[in-house]
């Protein structure tokens, strides 16, 4: 019985850690060509996301997202593109170490899947 509980605890730990927000750290590329931006997310040693940076083909288009809050497995951020009067609120969800989902609302409403490239 003890062994079963131990194995269950280990399994739950493994599953929950697979979705931890710290897995968001890295360079992410959209899998469906819905955006040309690469998203760079940095995580500090305390496993908190510190910045969400987007780079594109045009250096002038780079922008940072303002982090509104973060929970165990997701992060909420927002950004505004003045030239298009484009406001987006994003929920970045860690699926696993190599997959991220971004649910955007505001000027556009859609879901973008990312794969980690670095």
């Amino acid at each position: 019985m003890k062994k079963l509980l131990l194995i269950t605890a280990l399994f739950i730990t493994f599953i929950t850690n697979a979705q931890h927000v710290s897995n968001l750290g890295g360079v992410w590329e959209a899998t469906d060509n819905s955006t040309t931006y690469l998203t760079i997310i940095t995580v500090d040693p305390e496993h908190k996301v510190t910045s969400v940076h987007n780079v594109s083909f045009d250096p002038a288009k780079e922008f940072y997202e303002h982090i509104l809050g973060q929970a165990y497995d997701y992060l909420i951020s927002t950004h505004y593109i003045k030239r298009n009067d484009y406001t987006i609120k994003s929920k970045l969800i860690s699926i696993d170490k190599f997959t991220m989902k971004r649910v955007i609302t505001g000027s556009a409403n859609m879901t973008i899947f990312y794969k980690k490239i670095i």
Binding site: G26, V27, N33, S34, T35, T36, Y37, L38, I40, T42, D44, P45, T50, S51, H53, N54, V55, S56, F57, D58, P59, A60, K61, F63, H79, I81, N84, Y86, I88, I104, S107, A108, M110, I112, I117, I118
Partner: protein, 222 residues
């Protein structure tokens, strides 16, 4: 509910109905900008453009792939009498009716990377890697700086506490030292001081300032 069509009642819809025939005939190319970027609302260029090239073939083949023998049969025998006659007639016909070279359509596709501004997809990735590395370095440096500042602050706070308690009470008790230790979160040095001065700091020959000085001179407390 299944739709049952009466035979002859109406024609089946023609494919392509509603498509502008002029557009079909002129072969209007697909627009370069196809959709908007989800993150900034800009129009997204088709970075991986597949280009189709149609070129007429230079081949001037006029003969069929089949030989005369393969096409010669009872009907030809009946008409021409013999295979030799058929061959001669065929040669003559081919000489008088040269087959026009069929412009066979050769379609090749090539993928080219469009350069936007000064960047290409590879350079964007390089920029991303560099940015990530720089940010990480900055983060590590900031964390180290914070830790150093925390250590410095903790030493200063502990020293202030020791000074204030000493001035107020005239001596340091174990509690004073424990508080100082808690405030600074420091172990070894204060424990050493406690061991040396335990319960008797107020009557020690060593002045409080000497103790404070000895602590301040050893900022590495971890």
């Amino acid at each position: 509910m299944a739709y049952k069509q009466s035979p002859g009642r109406m024609n089946m819809p023609k494919t392509g109905r509603g498509v502008d025939t002029v557009a079909l005939m002129t072969g209007t190319p697909a627009p370069l900008y196809q959709k908007t970027d989800a993150l900034d609302g800009d129009e997204v260029p088709n970075y991986n453009e597949t280009k189709g090239i149609s070129a007429p073939s230079t081949a001037t083949t006029t003969s069929s792939n089949k030989t005369y023998k393969e096409t010669y049969g009872p009907a030809q025998e009946k008409k021409y009498g013999s295979f030799a006659n058929y061959t001669a007639a065929a040669d003559e016909w081919n000489a008088n009716n040269p087959k026009k070279p069929t412009p066979s359509t050769t379609t090749t596709s090539e993928t080219k990377n469009i350069k936007i501004g000064e960047n290409t997809p590879n350079s964007v990735q390089t920029t991303a890697v560099n940015t990530l590395q720089n940010t990480k370095n900055k983060l590590v440096a900031t964390t180290e700086a914070r830790q150093l500042a925390r250590k410095k602050d903790s030493v200063e706070d502990a020293n202030k506490l020791i000074k204030s308690r000493a001035r107020k009470n005239g001596k340091l008790t174990e509690k004073d030292m424990a508080d100082a230790q808690a405030a600074g979160d420091r172990g070894a040095i204060l424990k050493g001081v406690i061991a040396n001065k335990q319960g008797n700091l107020g009557r020690s020959n060593e002045s409080i300032m000497d103790i404070v000085k000895s602590i301040s001179e050893k900022p590495s407390l971890d």
